[in-house]
């Protein structure tokens, strides 16, 4: 079937204007870079051709009738109102066409579901509204990071010119080697998200409390971009996915670089921090994790996202605030950050909120206090 489909695509591209238009893939599926995505692309082309043929046939008949069997053209109505043979034919023939469509689709479904024997396994966790990645098996094991959209707010609000990859760019992309089978395990922390990279032919829901999996093997180096595909709240439109497919050597170099960075930034959980240090670090953590809801000015977006500036919890006893940040607030969008952030980051961000805006408690929360508060 793919031969037929390719033929059709080639024939279509022969018309230069149409070819050029389609090549930007602004009217068709994105250029596939995995075997599965290519099968899907070809299957879609084939389906389009079959549908187009049926469409032309059925509406050819209808419009012939519309133009010729008009009262104004002197048409006299016939009186037939059934014909068993015709009715059986137009029931059976569609069934046969459907069987022809089902055959390639079945093969693709089965290969999409075959996540066995991966070279690399990565766990992706959906958070409101960012992705966390965890390389759990294969080359790069142990690497983990959180990937946030990197498009600045000024561009979204129209105060700055929009960049080339507006809304489709992240601070830390997923990096994988070319030609290797990558299995992606998916889960979520809060609500359902979906991990979708069109060029890889992958879309899989990330369901809180459950693990689902999918896989891809990219045949071509490059940068492939996608989005969260399942409505997940306020910033659903702002949690992109960026996958960098590198050659084996470059991938190894990336892994080595990541691991040395990981070792260098390893935090000492018993370190005593100064207030100013914590506040400075906390401001960055706040911007990356909290500002989407509570806003950079701490005013929040009440009532869904309460203000932290002047908040009784933030200005009150620190134990309660620590519990809220660690475990979240059930039934609200307040997530449990206890497992998302390091104790140092948690200590810093809590200290920051207690010493920012009009909150001036002057208290510094140390990582050790967070460690003690876990459970």
């Amino acid at each position: 079937m793919s031969v037929l489909a390719r033929f059709a695509v080639t024939a279509l591209s022969a018309v230069p204007a149409v070819g050029a238009w389609a090549a930007q893939s602004s009217v068709n599926l994105q250029t596939p870079v995995t075997a599965v995505a290519t099968e899907i692309y070809d299957m879609h082309t084939l389906m389009m051709i079959i549908c187009l043929v049926i469409f032309v046939a059925v509406f050819g008949v209808m419009f012939w009738s519309v133009f010729h069997h008009r009262k104004s053209k002197g048409a006299v109505a016939a009186h037939f109102h059934e014909n068993t043979m015709v009715e059986i034919a137009w029931t059976v023939i569609p069934v046969l066409i459907l069987l022809g469509m089902a055959y390639p689709a079945t093969k693709t479904v089965i290969s999409m579901k075959d996540t066995s024997n991966p070279d690399i396994t990565i766990k992706a966790t959906g958070y409101q509204w960012k992705w966390g990645y965890n390389y759990i098996k294969g080359e790069g094991e142990g690497i983990q990071f959180v990937s946030n959209m990197s498009t600045p707010q000024e561009q979204i609000q129209g105060r700055a010119a929009k960049g080339e990859h507006y809304l489709l760019e992240v601070d830390k992309p997923v990096v994988v080697p070319v030609g290797k089978k990558v299995r992606v395990l998916l889960t979520a922390n809060d609500v359902i998200h979906a991990w979708w990279v069109p060029a890889l032919g992958v879309k899989q829901d990330a369901i809180p409390g459950f693990i689902r999996d999918t896989w891809f093997r990219a045949d071509k180096e490059g940068v492939y971009r996608g989005n969260c595909a399942e409505l997940c709240g306020k910033d659903h439109g702002f949690m992109p996915i960026e996958v960098h497919v590198l050659s084996a050597e470059k991938y190894s170099a990336w892994v080595a670089d990541q691991q040395s960075k990981l070792a260098a930034t390893k935090e000492d959980p018993t370190k005593e921090w100064a207030l100013a240090e914590l506040v400075a670090k906390g401001e960055q953590v706040f911007a990356a994790n909290c500002a989407a809801c509570h806003q950079a000015d701490g005013k929040g977006m009440p009532p869904a996202f309460p203000p932290l500036d002047g908040s009784a919890v933030v200005q009150g006893p620190k134990a309660e605030q620590i519990q809220t940040v660690l475990n979240g607030r059930e039934g609200t969008a307040m997530a449990a950050f206890g497992k998302q952030l390091s104790d140092t980051d948690l200590a810093a961000v809590i200290t920051y909120t207690r010493n920012a805006w009009s909150n001036q408690t002057g208290e510094a929360i140390q990582p050790a206090e967070i460690a003690a508060a876990h459970n």
Partner: protein, 528 residues
């Protein structure tokens, strides 16, 4: 069908009920109630339309200009809920109320008081639904599908929506029971089931679907309610629940719901095409069987909305095959309509234009439906604008166009005045052109990778979005033409309509005078 209709003139002595507002509040007359359903649904249609235009205005160009993401999500959610439960469904019930008794030769609906109650629940539900915009936190922003756990996170707007859904569900169930009992028990002597107009058949089957699935929806939203407030964990893995359970329960309602919104449309079109082709409907029996097949199949295809949740290959294959099968009876219907037109003697008054437009554009939605049925392709296009295009082709060009077809077809019967052909045709041509400008580019957007339900998008999607927004405003404004057409009829500004204003219309409704008197068929006609 030929009918012996007793003299209707004696019906013209008017009823002796209350007048003014109380007449409408207390009425048990199927025509009054039908009128109220139609007016209510049109108001909701305009409200949902304003939400849609706000969405399209925001999406006119990249960046956030008019609304913030939170409110944007409220708009997409409420647009869906208002259009499905407030506009399309009540409009079809309005048609059923007006036309079913007239078509089967009954004097009224079987349960006249319950009929009144079914209607008057709706404004209450609508107030809860629209009012939820004004409570702290605003309306629910979880999408019209109200997926858990996102819906569990929402503010009190979600609770109002849950109660609105409960109330609308009760209204629909009562309406459906009324229709089943009326059609089964109150047909005129001689009108066997297989002599009923197809509209009665499609509504009978739709009514059974409603009775089967509305309680399922009520159950799904009630589980959300108890998860939100009473400590249950139906959809919370930490408490032993499963978020995907919600989707199974919701779509067990949701897929038959799709056919609830399209089967009566098939019925309306099947009345109109034979009238203007001046030729009996081709394959009446196969139309009935096809409708029943679609209804039965609709119960075993729900998980095709959930291909990306990660079900086993066998399950995906089952739901893929079952979904593809629906193309067969749907195809039979389209072939039958075309065969009805074939060698007819056609004229294209406004109802026929809408019906022909319906077949043409609805079938495009049918084809994209078939493409979506193929699980691997669906995984690429699920939750993208391709799906948005697909369901607007079947729900706007399908259900809504059929509703307009029916409205123009029966307006002379309802008001006693012919609508203006010029205005009707203008409405049709503006609608179909702007409809395609709005929704056709969405296929491209979806294929190229634009997710749905996002307030802002990447730059490569800008051109088609701008085009779609222009089309949407054109489409929205075109609907105001309909108000002009109807108001002219209601004010008596137009040619007086005969009992049968169409040259070759069949059916008992054309045997009573236009406008249909307050009471009709008090003595049942005899159908031979």
């Amino acid at each position: 069908m030929s009918a012996v209709t007793p003299d209707q003139v004696h019906d013209d002595h008017h009823h002796h009920g209350p007048t003014g507002l109380m007449r409408w509040i207390t009425t048990t007359n199927h025509k009054d109630i039908g009128t109220m359903y139609l007016i209510f649904s049109f108001i909701m249609f305009l409200s949902g339309g304003v939400m849609a235009l706000t969405i399209r205005a925001e999406l006119f160009k990249p960046g956030l200009q008019i609304v913030q993401p939170e409110f944007f999500n409220q708009l997409t959610t409420m647009h869906g809920l208002v259009m499905v439960f407030g506009a399309i469904m009540p409009a079809f019930v309005g048609f059923a109320n007006w036309m079913l008794p007239l078509m089967i030769g009954a004097s009224d609906m079987a349960f006249a008081r319950m009929n009144n109650w079914s209607f008057w629940l709706l404004p209450v539900a609508a107030i809860l639904l629209i009012g939820s915009f004004f409570v702290p936190g605003g309306a629910t922003a979880a999408g019209w599908t109200l997926y858990a756990p996102l819906s569990v996170q929402m503010g009190m707007g979600m609770d109002l929506t849950i109660f609105a859904v409960h109330i609308m569900g009760i209204s629909s169930i009562m309406g459906a029971i009324n229709i089943v009992v009326t059609v089964l028990n109150m047909r005129a002597p001689g009108m066997t089931m297989m002599k009923m107009p197809l509209f009665c058949w499609t509504w009978l089957i739709t009514a059974y679907l409603l009775i089967a699935v509305m309680p399922v929806l009520a159950g799904a939203v009630t589980m959300i309610l108890t998860d939100r407030h009473f400590g249950t964990s139906f959809f919370n893995a930490a408490g032993g629940g499963d978020p995907v359970l919600y989707q199974h329960v919701f779509w067990f309602f949701g897929h038959p719901e799709v056919y609830i919104m399209i089967l009566p449309a098939f019925g309306i079109v099947s009345e109109i095409i034979p009238t203007f082709a001046r030729k009996p409907l081709f394959g009446y029996a196969s139309m009935v069987y096809a409708t029943a097949s679609i209804a039965i199949l609709s119960f075993v295809v729900w998980a095709h909305h959930m291909f990306t949740t990660g079900m086993p290959a066998e399950t995906q294959l089952f739901f893929m095959y079952a979904t593809m099968l629906i193309a067969v009876p749907t195809g039979v219907k389209v072939f039958n309509w075309v065969a009805t037109m074939w060698r007819g003697s056609m004229t294209f008054e406004t109802p026929m234009l809408w019906a022909t437009g319906f077949i043409f554009v609805f079938t495009m939605g049918g084809f994209t439906g078939l493409i979506c049925a193929i699980a691997p392709i669906d995984i690429q296009v699920q939750d993208t604008y391709y799906v948005v295009a697909h369901f607007h082709y079947v729900l706007v060009a399908g259900s809504l166009f059929a509703l307009f077809a029916g409205a123009y077809y029966w307006l002379p019967k309802w008001t006693g005045v012919m609508y203006s052909e010029f205005i009707g045709k203008l409405h049709f041509w503006c609608s179909i052109i702007f409809f395609n400008i709005t929704f056709f580019p969405m296929h491209f957007l979806g294929l190229a990778g634009m997710p749905r339900r996002i307030p802002d998008y990447a730059l490569q999607f800008a051109d088609f979005n701008a085009l779609a927004s222009v089309g949407a405003f054109g489409f929205g404004l075109s609907q105001l033409i309909f108000i002009v057409a109807v108001v002219k009829c209601v004010r008596g500004d137009g040619k007086k309509a005969a009992a049968s204003p169409w040259e070759d219309a069949q059916g008992l409704e054309w045997t009573v005078p236009s406008p249909a008197p307050h009471h009709t068929f008090e003595i049942p006609p005899v159908v031979k």
